[in-house]
């Protein structure tokens, strides 16, 4: 089953076409990494998929439910109400975590399930405790984000996203603000999620991690998908641009 599907997506910023005709399908349990140089449009793609930016062309859907429908000969977004429903299908871990600084770890994780999904408080707390344990954050329940390391913040952010029980989790360069050692603790958590068959789309610069964790790697450059395939396929690609990009990492 396709959890997420985007077709012919285009996005223009100040007359610059940052995304040109991108199509991507993510099926259940699949882990897709998106790699590519800065400015290739990777982050923009995630921002379109998460309604943080509006698409200029193309369509996308979650669980077969469209976010953009044909209307009067053109395409337009579905109603605000419908978008709210679609938002429940995905979660997003930001590059800068974007935790709420005035909430404790526990409240960061539990507030949205309680206030947005109107779920039972005790139940949400029980689940949050399990998530905190899974993320290796025991003892940090009452800490504020300012008291945590970057790696801990990112794990709280992942827990916060997971607490909403999304069908798919997007990661926008989750480790690019972290030092190599701390990067590993975040990658470990993502790896565990992959082992549990969580559907994920990860924008990353960690090539070896992408190779290791992904079912499929998508290589983007200048707003188009240049190449994609299994990690083996991509790392042995005949495509010149792919080879040139990955070559920089091999030569390190």
């Amino acid at each position: 089953m396709n959890i997420f599907e985007i077709k012919h997506a285009t996005k223009v910023f100040n007359q610059v076409e940052v995304l040109k005709d991108i199509s991507l399908t993510v099926s259940e349990g699949e882990v897709v990494s998106i790699i590519g140089p800065s400015g290739s449009g990777k982050t923009t793609l995630l921002r379109l998929a998460t309604f943080l930016e509006r698409m200029d062309g193309g369509t996308f859907s979650y669980m077969g439910e469209p976010a953009i429908v044909e209307k009067d000969g053109g395409y337009s977004y579905v109603s605000k109400h419908k978008i709210k429903q679609l938002q429940r299908y995905f979660g997003l871990a930001f590059q800068n975590y974007n935790l709420f600084p005035h909430f404790t770890v526990m409240k960061n994780i539990t507030d949205a399930p309680i206030k947005v999904l109107k779920r039972n408080k005790e139940e949400v707390y029980e689940e949050a405790k399990a998530l905190i344990k899974k993320m290796g954050l025991e003892g940090k329940e009452d800490a504020y984000p300012s008291q945590l390391s970057g790696g801990q913040c990112q794990r709280v952010a992942i827990a916060r996203a997971l607490a909403m029980k999304p069908k798919i989790l997007f990661f926008d360069e989750p480790t690019s603000a972290l030092d190599p050692e701390i990067t590993q603790e975040v990658l470990k958590v993502i790896r565990e999620l992959a082992a549990e068959k969580m559907t994920m789309v990860i924008v990353t610069h960690e090539m070896f991690f992408a190779k290791d964790v992904s079912d499929r790697i998508v290589f983007m450059d200048k707003g188009v998908i240049v190449d994609q395939g299994t990690p083996e396929e991509l790392f042995n690609s005949e495509n010149e641009r792919t080879r040139a990009f990955l070559g920089q990492y091999y030569n390190m």
């Binding site: 709420f100 909430f103 947005v116």
Partner: protein, 221 residues
């Protein structure tokens, strides 16, 4: 005039000052938030009207504003007002003036909050109202509290301006006593009262600032 009588009169005056102070805060703090929304509105008509309003309120003397509000009804519409209107006029003037200042403080605070907070809230499905009151506003309060404290302290002293339209607040009373007793003693006592009032308010605001700092205090580890 006995000392006791002077003190009693001054305390009564102070009661009026405190009433004016409390009323001003109770109405101007929320009203300022409404004005700040108006100022930040995407609708150019609303934002420009608010901008002009704030500009006038901050650009003309409060004393003049009090005169306009007090004498306006008579000179513009021929209404004769009762003496009770004095206090009402003063309260309206203070609320309108302070709301303008608070609006700009709120706006500065709201605009300083990281955009990422709005994006995270949106992705998690919070409504706009929830996002503002649960996520943004508590952080704004924390940031603007020192500026609010400043205004609150200024307000205590500004209440003496109600003297110009004959409100019998503490300064008006002190002046009357001074004329009657031909001694500046009442002024000295009034000064002490203002100072103590300020001291208490500054103390409370300091405590509040401390309390609000909870989420930005680094841990010991």
């Amino acid at each position: 005039m006995s000392m006791q009588l002077i003190l009693t009169k001054l305390l009564l005056g102070m009661g009026v000052s405190v009433q004016l102070f409390v009323l001003t805060l109770v109405f101007s703090l929320p009203l300022g938030l409404v004005f700040s929304f108006g100022r930040m509105s995407k609708n150019p008509i609303i934002s420009n009207i608010t901008k002009v309003y704030i500009s006038i309120m901050r650009g003309t003397p409060l004393m003049l504003q009090l005169f306009v509000i007090y004498f306006g009804p008579y000179y513009w519409f021929g209404f004769t007002t009762s003496t009770g209107y004095r206090f009402v006029a003063a309260a309206i003037g203070f609320v309108m003036n302070y709301a303008a200042y608070f609006a700009e403080i709120y706006r500065g605070g709201i605009e300083s909050i990281d955009k990422g907070n709005y994006e995270a809230a949106q992705v998690l499905g919070y409504t706009k109202v929830q996002t503002f009151f649960r996520i943004i506003f508590p952080q704004v309060i924390k940031r603007i509290l020192p500026s609010i404290t400043n205004e609150v302290i200024t307000l205590i002293k500004d209440t003496s301006l109600a003297f110009v339209i004959g409100v019998s607040e503490m300064f008006t009373v002190a002046k009357a006593i001074t004329s009657a007793t031909k001694s500046v003693g009442a002024y000295v006592i009034a000064a002490i009262f203002y100072f103590v009032f300020n001291f208490i308010v500054a103390f409370i605001m300091g405590k509040l600032e401390n309390k609000m700092g909870y989420f930005e205090r680094e841990s010991a580890e």
